[in-house]
C-alpha cells in the first residue's frame, strides 16, 4: 500500500525520531536516537471539546439510524465496515465515506491515499534531474547520480502504490547513461589535453 508521510506529533528536528512525552521539556534536549541537541520550549495546549449538535430530534419512521447517534438518520454507510452513519459521522474528504473510527485507523496506517493532501513524486523529481543534466551538460555526473537515486525511490514508491514502474526504470537508465557520458567526456578531455 502507499506510504504517506503522516505527521505524528513532535519529533527530533534533526533525525525525526518520535520523541517520548517524558523528554518533551524546556531547555536543551539531547535526542537519545541521534545524540544531537536542540533547544526546546514545551507547551501544553488545552484539549478541544467539540459538541456535536443534533440534526433532528427523531429519525423519520423507516429510516436507518446512525450507529453512533441514535437520534440521527443515517445518510450513508462506512465504505470499510458498513456501519450506518449520519452526516456528523461521515468522514468524507474526497476519499469516500468512512465512519470516524475507520477513518482514524486508515489515516494512522497512512493508507487513506485520497485523504492525503500531497506526497512527493520521486519519479517526477528524477525526471527533472535528468532534464537538468541534459541542459547543464557539464554537470551531468551529479545530476545523473541524483536522478538515479530519485528514480530508485520513485520505483519503490510506485511499486508500493501498485503503479507501473516503467518510467522510473527508464529514468534510472538515462541517469546512468548521463553519469557514464560525463565520465567519458572528462576522460576524453583529459586524454586530448595530455596527448596534445
Amino acid at each position: 500500500m502507499a506510504e504517506i508521510a503522516v505527521y505524528r506529533g513532535p519529533h527530533c528536528p534533526r533525525c525525526r525520531a518520535t520523541v517520548p512525552d517524558a523528554w518533551l521539556t524546556d531547555g536543551t534536549v539531547i535526542c537519545p536516537e541521534c545524540g544531537g541537541d536542540f533547544e526546546a520550549t514545551r507547551f501544553t495546549p488545552v484539549e478541544r471539546k467539540v459538541e456535536a449538535t443534533r440534526i433532528i430530534d427523531e429519525a423519520p419512521e423507516g429510516a436507518n439510524l446512525c450507529a453512533n447517534h441514535a437520534r440521527n438518520a443515517a445518510v450513508t454507510s462506512c465504505q470499510r465496515c458498513g456501519l450506518f452513519i449520519c452526516s456528523l459521522c461521515d468522514m468524507n474528504v474526497g476519499s469516500g465515506s468512512y465512519c470516524p473510527s475507520c477513518f482514524s485507523k486508515l489515516h494512522t496506517e497512512g493508507t487513506l491515499g485520497d485523504a492525503a493532501r500531497r506526497y512527493r513524486d520521486y519519479t517526477l523529481l528524477a525526471r527533472s534531474a535528468v532534464i537538468a543534466g541534459v541542459l547543464i551538460w557539464f554537470l551531468s555526473i551529479p545530476f545523473g547520480a541524483v536522478a538515479m537515486y530519485w528514480a530508485l525511490k520513485g520505483r519503490r514508491q510506485r511499486r508500493e502504490m501498485g503503479r507501473k514502474t516503467f518510467a522510473p526504470i527508464l529514468i534510472l537508465i538515462l541517469g546512468a547513461l548521463q553519469v557514464i557520458g560525463g565520465l567519458a567526456l572528462i576522460a576524453v578531455i583529459v586524454y586530448t589535453l595530455v596527448k596534445s
Binding site: 519529533h11 501544553t44 513524486d121
Partner: protein, 159 residues
C-alpha cells in the same frame, strides 16, 4: 502584517521545494511549494506543543556543493599548471564554479539555524542561513505568541 492579515516570519528552502511560514492572528500558515504542487497548512497557536531551535550543517548540501567545487577547482588547477598560456581557462572554470564554492563556504562557516513549530496535527519549519540573530528573535516571538494565546485560552493553568 500585509493586506491579507499575515506576516512572513520565515522560510525554508531545499533542493526539492520551499516552505513559507506566515504568522496570522490565529496561528501560522505554512505554504509548501514542492515542484509544481502547493500545499497550505495551519498550525494554530492553540495546537502548538513544542517549539525548537537548533543549528545544523546539512551534510547533503555540503557534499553536493563540495563535489561541484572540487570538480571546478580541479579543472582550474589543471589548466593553471598544464601550460603557461592556459591560465584563462582556469579562470573560466573558477568563475563557473564560484557559486558552488561560495555556497559551500557560506554553509560551512555560518551553518544553518532551524526553528521548528510542532503542532498537534502539523508543523512549520523555518531555516535561517546567515541571520542568526533573526532566528533567535523569531524563536522568541513564536514562543511568546503561543504562550500568550494559550494563556488567554486557559488562564487557570498559567502561574
Amino acid at each position: 502584517m500585509n493586506e491579507t492579515g499575515r506576516k512572513l516570519v520565515g522560510k525554508s528552502t531545499s533542493l526539492s521545494g520551499r516552505e513559507m511560514v506566515y504568522q496570522t492572528a490565529e496561528g501560522f500558515e505554512v505554504v509548501k511549494t514542492e515542484n509544481y504542487e502547493v500545499e497550505e497548512l495551519r498550525v494554530f497557536f492553540d495546537d502548538v506543543m513544542m517549539v525548537t531551535i537548533h543549528r545544523e550543517v546539512g551534510v547533503l548540501f555540503l557534499v553536493f556543493t563540495g563535489l561541484i567545487s572540487l570538480f571546478f577547482i580541479a579543472f582550474a588547477l589543471f589548466f593553471f599548471f598544464v601550460d603557461d598560456d592556459t591560465w584563462p581557462a582556469s579562470l573560466i572554470f573558477l568563475v563557473l564554479g564560484s557559486p558552488a564554492i561560495v555556497a559551500f563556504l557560506v554553509r560551512a562557516i555560518f551553518r544553518i539555524d532551524v526553528v521548528t513549530i510542532f503542532g498537534r496535527r502539523s508543523k512549520a519549519t523555518m531555516r535561517f542561513r546567515i541571520r542568526k540573530q533573526r532566528a533567535r528573535e523569531v524563536y522568541e516571538q513564536v514562543c511568546a505568541a503561543v504562550r500568550e494565546a494559550q494563556r488567554r485560552r486557559d488562564p487557570v493553568s498559567e502561574p
